[in-house]
Symmetry: C2
Subunit: 329 residues, 2 copies
Amino acid sequence: MNLAHDLAWLRAGLALVLASTLGTAAADPLPSWRDGKSKQAIMEFVARVTLPGSPDFVPEPERIATFDNDGTLWAEQPAYFQLLFALDRVKTLAPQHPEWKTHEPFASLLKGDLKSALAGGEKAIVEILMATHAGMTSAEFEQIVTDWIATATHPTTGRPITGMVYQPMLELLAYLRANDFKTYIVSGGGIEFMRPWTERVYGIPPEQVVGSSIKSAFELRGDKPVLVRQPAVDFIDDKSGKPVGIQSHIGRRPIAAFGNSDGDLQMLQWTCLAEGARFCLYVRHDDADREWAYDRESHIGQLDQGLDQAEAHGWTVVSMKDDWSRIYP
Amino acid sequence: MNLAHDLAWLRAGLALVLASTLGTAAADPLPSWRDGKSKQAIMEFVARVTLPGSPDFVPEPERIATFDNDGTLWAEQPAYFQLLFALDRVKTLAPQHPEWKTHEPFASLLKGDLKSALAGGEKAIVEILMATHAGMTSAEFEQIVTDWIATATHPTTGRPITGMVYQPMLELLAYLRANDFKTYIVSGGGIEFMRPWTERVYGIPPEQVVGSSIKSAFELRGDKPVLVRQPAVDFIDDKSGKPVGIQSHIGRRPIAAFGNSDGDLQMLQWTCLAEGARFCLYVRHDDADREWAYDRESHIGQLDQGLDQAEAHGWTVVSMKDDWSRIYP
């Protein structure tokens, strides 16, 4: 133990906490976060790992922060937005698929009966995903997503779909990057569904997006090489898959992880149940007025075990209602 | 077409080519490359994509360069170095596996009879790889590789194994990075076999290494999360797998690719058979005195179709004998 270092860190940390508590607004990197425990915990952690001389100092290349997407960076109600994309695609593609009129889950979908369509459970969802996500080249799919994301609107708020991102999380991403963190998305959503727009919307480039994937195959069409998306699941980047995806794509263990559901629990465990300074945070959806309120009993974004684990390990739990002065940009 | 831009680019390009031809040694970023077509082609390409105002200017985030490893960045004779690692591991682990004394391919291996051991073909190699690469945690495997790479020596040259890297390629990596390229390894070798040392040896961090992988599984051992390496192939990053690995990990198409064998052909096609300024290069092993000489007929690092394609598409083919004044650091 190095006492001089510890004292230097304490002094610097104290100065920073005081500055944030006293509200030097001009310099506040997280203006949509209300002063309180959550904001303080974030800023204290960043100070600990970035201040030279801090006993918990982490060199820049190891400052890896991973973020879930659905429910953490943008909303996920009344359905995952990628599912809304798939439903729109089914409608667009229906004229080319007359057989869908009598084939479930498509028949119900095309009648606008989402509930019956999804009654087939995971099998129905996989069938919808494959019909809408496979069979084209990677470049064609990128264009399809780019076109959709530019015009899609949210079914209940009417906002542009990319306007459903959380302003406080955009500020957090920028704040971490300003402190030389490398920010990654680690999502159960499709990796190629996210990449066309994450740089513009979150400042996260394609090579820092980890997600679920279907298989693809290299083909030479004449002299033109293409990657053709295959109707077969390759990798599910959810639950126990998240640490696997992190290791595969990043090859380093994050020092900070951010999620909102039990699907993120293993990512938070992988990040925080380890030596050294670590930071784990759950976004809790408790704001029925400005967003949605759901947790232990929800079918989408269930947060049950995660809430217990957060308490047990002292992870930060953000109340959207109390901690965020603003939800959307 | 913008004539002013074109002229600016021509002028700047000409100045650069003249400077390199006339040999302003103090500023030469590639001192181990002899003046000639290969060096000139590299420097002209870098000038074209980096000079503001060039019609082929490429913004920094899109300057992705991918490098094969075995035979491109370091040697691969008389056997892939990862196979030498596996053989060393078999010897180390033998006391814990008395059954290997009578079980092929281990029995022959332990008698020092590599030829008989490998007579079982791919099946034998997979068995050796799984016995030596699976069954431990990711952290344990990283330590095993770190220990091996620190002490292993090459069977014929006696050099440290990391001393078998090519000095001209180290200079090329540094030159590209100095011009704001992001350099990646895209290798048929094991991703977790490379990551523990590529940063130190090549300046390439773990998140920029793409390679073959076995499956892994997340586990909580008490309160300690681990990733356990499973004896099952996950992904082979070779031939048609290379563009797939590139898309999965990087999500952008490279603008430059470097290889030495037919195993790299699809990566070079994916990179160079596309619109815009592109650069593809094959390292040709034609220096029996200082390294090895092999190409169309070789079992390791066969370069046959690739050579024909390089000629057909005007890709650069480096002669190790003529183009490199120095092989190893």
